[in-house]
């Protein structure tokens, strides 16, 4: 009886703490969304204005009128001219999706080879991967800029995507998942005369699918938030990402927080909506993988 009572008290206390923490975690988003619709006076008010007394859209109007760019540029084909912020959103989505897809493909192939094949150079390669996987990109800041310039990729979204794909954490993760593929199945496939490619695509991939899901989410969010690479590699206003665009909106002598809040809301809402819709998939993806780690 006593333990039950204690348990109840513990439950209530932890629930209260959780709710307070939850409010703190919710606060930035709440502040961004309400701030985006506040008037200049309310945003600049010295005492916090908790809720807009009047919802206005002129922060978005200002944001949209500040820069303009074509919606997309593929070769010589250019889209209609839209506000810069919309283009930045398109750029960001493109960047994150391509980085995600490329990373998943390359990393799952490499991870499988590392886990299941005994080949020369395996140990060296794996050691290299482990050592490099937590490396922050600032380390190779200068050589990377020069290299991208030599390759003609500077100020192109690819300059942000390629190093993300090259980062070896994905390979490490997929190697850990691929360890779980039973050797007997692979042996059986080989005896049946299945080609390497076929073995991989029809036997290995289905087994490591949860791992791929985990990697996809990790890469997508990391690349979306990788402000640093975007900062050093992109310069034209039509090539910017939404994070970079918001950061650039601050003029020297007057920071218009209204515009920044509107930009932040624009940057945050799409990915949050995606997250809410695919919440189940998101959480499942991450989960099942890690358990097998």
């Amino acid at each position: 009886m006593r333990t039950r009572k204690n348990k109840g008290a513990y439950y209530v206390v932890s629930l209260i703490i959780l709710i307070i923490l939850a409010l703190l975690f919710l606060f930035p988003l709440y502040w961004i969304v309400t701030g985006a619709f506040k008037t200049g006076a309310e945003i600049n008010s010295v005492t916090p204005v908790w809720w807009p007394t009047e919802w206005v859209t002129n922060n978005f109007e200002k944001l949209f009128s500040k820069r303009s760019a074509p919606l997309f540029e593929i070769g010589s084909l250019t889209g209609p001219v839209v506000p810069g912020a919309i283009r930045w959103l398109v750029n960001t989505v493109f960047m994150a999706v391509v980085a995600m897809v490329l990373t998943c493909i390359t990393a799952s192939m490499a991870g499988y080879a590392l886990a299941k094949k005994r080949f020369t150079g395996r140990h060296i390669l794996f050691t290299l991967i482990v050592c490099a996987m937590a490396l922050p990109k600032q380390v190779i800041l200068i050589p990377l800029i020069r290299e991208m310039s030599t390759l003609g990729l500077y100020d192109k979204i690819w300059a942000v995507i390629f190093p993300t794909v090259g980062w070896p954490f994905g390979v490490f993760l997929m190697k850990q998942f691929s360890e779980g593929v039973p050797g007997e199945i692979l042996e059986a496939a080989r005896i049946d005369g299945a080609s390497e490619a076929r073995t991989f695509s029809s036997i290995v991939v289905p087994i490591i699918k949860p791992g791929i899901g985990a990697l996809a989410i990790f890469t997508f969010i990391n690349s979306w938030n990788d402000y640093f690479m975007q900062l050093i590699m992109l310069s034209s206003s039509s090539k910017l990402t939404i994070s970079l665009g918001i950061a650039t909106m601050q003029a020297e002598n007057s920071t218009d927080f209204g515009i920044i809040m509107a930009g932040a809301a624009l940057a945050a809402l799409p990915i949050i909506i995606v997250f809410l819709i695919f919440q189940k998939y998101f959480t499942q993806g991450i989960t099942m993988g890690a358990v097998k780690g």
Partner: protein, 433 residues
Amino acid sequence: MKKLLAVLLALAMVLSLAACGTKKEEPAPVAEPTSITLWTYPIGNWGDEASVKALTDAFTAETGVVVNVEYLSYTDGDDKVNTALTANQAPDLIMEGPERLVANWGAAGYMVDLSDLVDAEDRAQLNPAAFAACETADGKVYEYPLVMTAHCMGINYDAFVEAGADQYVDIENHTWTTEGFFKAVEALNAKFGDNVAAVYCGGQGGDQGTRAIVNNLYGGTFTSADHTSYTWDSAENVKAISELYNTKGITFDPAIVGGDEINLFRQGVLKMAFCWNIAQQLNTDNNDAGLTNDGQRIEFMSFPSETGASQLCGGIWGFGIFNNGDEAKIAAAKQFITYMCDSAHTAEAVKTANYFAVRSTAGGTDISNVWADNEIMNEYNVLMQYLGDYYQVTKGWAAARTAWWNMLQAVGAGTDVQTAVSQFAAEANAAAK
């Protein structure tokens, strides 16, 4: 086996290069008309797409040269230019001041000498002080100046009146003395509490304001007169920094930069701003020009000094050309400079910048009356006589200004003033060699 590895690695590299190589060809189609890129900092409305587009469209219509404009911010603009230089992808044209164009990128050998654009007539017309800042000792011109201003202070005049501090300012002439300044701070502090003014030092944004207040209080200088060394470790400056640090109501704040200070000033939190100039006085983002967000009256002021006759920090803005090795583009960029700075169109370019022209005649057109109908601009002219030495072209400028705000942070964190000043000034002087 090692050989096999090496071969495979080499193969991987070749493939990756090839993959990138094919992509490289894409943007190759040569545009028939010459096109140049201009990167501009937010200098008045030169940071506003619509205003700049009107100017560049007119230029394109007349010359056929297409101008692609990118807008930099002061927060990360320098870094962007520096990354672009590292990548050999600098823009053709850049709009900023001599502290960057001459002292920085010019000294590092990235700029084109523009002396062929400046003939004897131009030399006669251009403001001598402004042009001197754009020309190096050996006669190379890395910036063609367009506009200039004197950086000053802003005060919340209504708050001054309320605290009885208005007696310390000569509002007619917009000047005050060191003694008056400290008395005013004391009165404001007694009335409004701690936040009278902030020595902002979070970064280089608006740092001319902190330099000007320190230098002027007791007649110190930032550099030697010949611009060969940094002199901010002199007794006058040390005294000024100590006084500011010890005065109640003035905080050394490493969490803000000039732009934040202006916001706080407009919000009525701070009663004076060290980062101010005519563009700020004319700003109408949140209220009419010359008013805080709550409608209190803002007056621009010269920095306080013992005599009242201060040395104001100049702001000079104009264009420079990065040497990208393409003669056609350099020629087009020069055409652009002449169009904006030395022609009948200069008046428009000046108006867009919201500052004073560096010359009274441009391309045979009289532009002395550009601001004739603007009362505030006319009144602001009283400060232009105090325009001091443009020392921002001293060698090692980028490192020196960094050392400056690092020094202020150290002082703010409680380091002994003399120690901090000596240490960081030594860093600055090391960079000046």
